[in-house]
């Protein structure tokens, strides 16, 4: 039981959420306008940057990123770790002390770029852990 330490604010008469109003335990909570944690794409086109004449491949760079809510309960489609589930629960208990679980990359993949250098040589450069492959809480 959480002790309410701000007597001014009166707790509504009944402690349980109103039966016909979706509460935080309802699956569709995340869909009420706030999206669940997932991967988003921000595509950087090398054509837009005017680099296509010297960058042979790829044509652009998908700067994926993770964004969205990690609200309790964390459903399996949110790719939540056990720790995130515990943190989300503890956040409910102590919202002012424990932050919510955050939406972050859970799997990264490399990106390779092929380009000409000053001496007309062709270079393939690989960068590991560069692109978000999966997001999760």
């Amino acid at each position: 039981a959480v002790r309410h330490n701000n007597p001014r604010k009166k707790k509504p008469k009944h402690d349980l959420p109103h039966p016909n109003r979706p509460g935080i335990f309802d699956q569709n909570h995340a869909s009420s306008g706030r999206q669940g944690c997932k991967k988003h794409e921000l595509y950087v086109s090398f054509s837009d940057l005017g680099w296509r004449d010297w960058v042979l491949a790829p044509t652009g760079y998908s700067a994926y990123y993770c964004d969205g809510e990690c609200d309790y309960p964390l459903s399996s489609c949110m790719n939540a770790t056990n720790h995130a589930t515990i943190q989300a629960l503890v956040h409910l208990l102590k919202p002012n002390e424990v932050p919510k679980a955050c939406c972050a990359p859970t799997k990264l993949s490399p990106i390779s770029v092929l380009f000409y250098d000053d001496n007309n040589n062709v270079i393939l450069k690989k960068h590991r852990n560069m692109v978000v492959k999966h997001c999760g809480c």
Binding site: L42, V44, L49, W51, D53, W54, V55, L56, A57, P58, Y61, A63, Y65, D67, S109, P110, I111, S112, V113, L114, F115, Y116, D117, D118, N119, N120, N121, V122, I123, L124, K125, K126, H127, R128, M130
Partner: protein, 263 residues
Amino acid sequence: CIWGQVEGVAHSSFRRLSGREKKEMQKEILSLLGLPGRPRPHPPLRPPSSAPLFMLDLYHAVSSEDDDGPGLGFSPEVVSHAALPTLSTHTPPLGTVVSEADTVMSFVNLVEQEKDLLQPRPYWKDFRFDLTPLPQGETVTAAEFRIYKTLPVGWRANRTLHISVYEIQREKRYRDPDLALLDMQSVPTGQEGWLAFDVTSASNRWLLNPRSNLGIRLYVETEEDRSLSAGWVGLVGRRGPRSKQPFMVTFFRASQAPCRPPR
């Protein structure tokens, strides 16, 4: 986080990046992708030659492997075997050297000398590459010299040719240079396609001491040890079609985790 901030700024204030900010952002992307920036002079506007075509093939193989997961173990044959240019037709596991390479560079050969055919045998052909822009802090894990062989005219297809590649270690006036054998392959005269010779040991030496890079020398001999000119047996040189010109490709591995200086 950067893109979140950029997008956040874009959403909250709905303003476009200024010219200066765009330039800064481009520099940031170049730095993140380890790209040196637009080369000077402009890259060739002609159709890509053999090295870029090979590298593009390699890029697609590496990228598709990255999407599907890492390679399944080391297979040197893939590196020092003519199988690489057919990457797009079959997908063998790329092998550790290729899949773990941080940088792969192809070098167009700069100098090509051939022994005067009016001189006494043996005949040879020298190739020299400019390896100076080698990536700092990376070590050579494998290097190949690739030369294309067409079908020679007027040769019996089933004769065997011994093609050997040496590193030129020390040049001497009026005498043959000191040579060190790097690789040798025996191929039927009737074979056509890319031949790949392992020149890793020479590349390592050149990386450590660029001035020791005196190039490589190629010999062709029959089973009866009779020396032949490379051109006679169909080995394509710099004067051949662009898509079949010889080149060198070197695979590098970063010796330490690349740390990007904060900008």
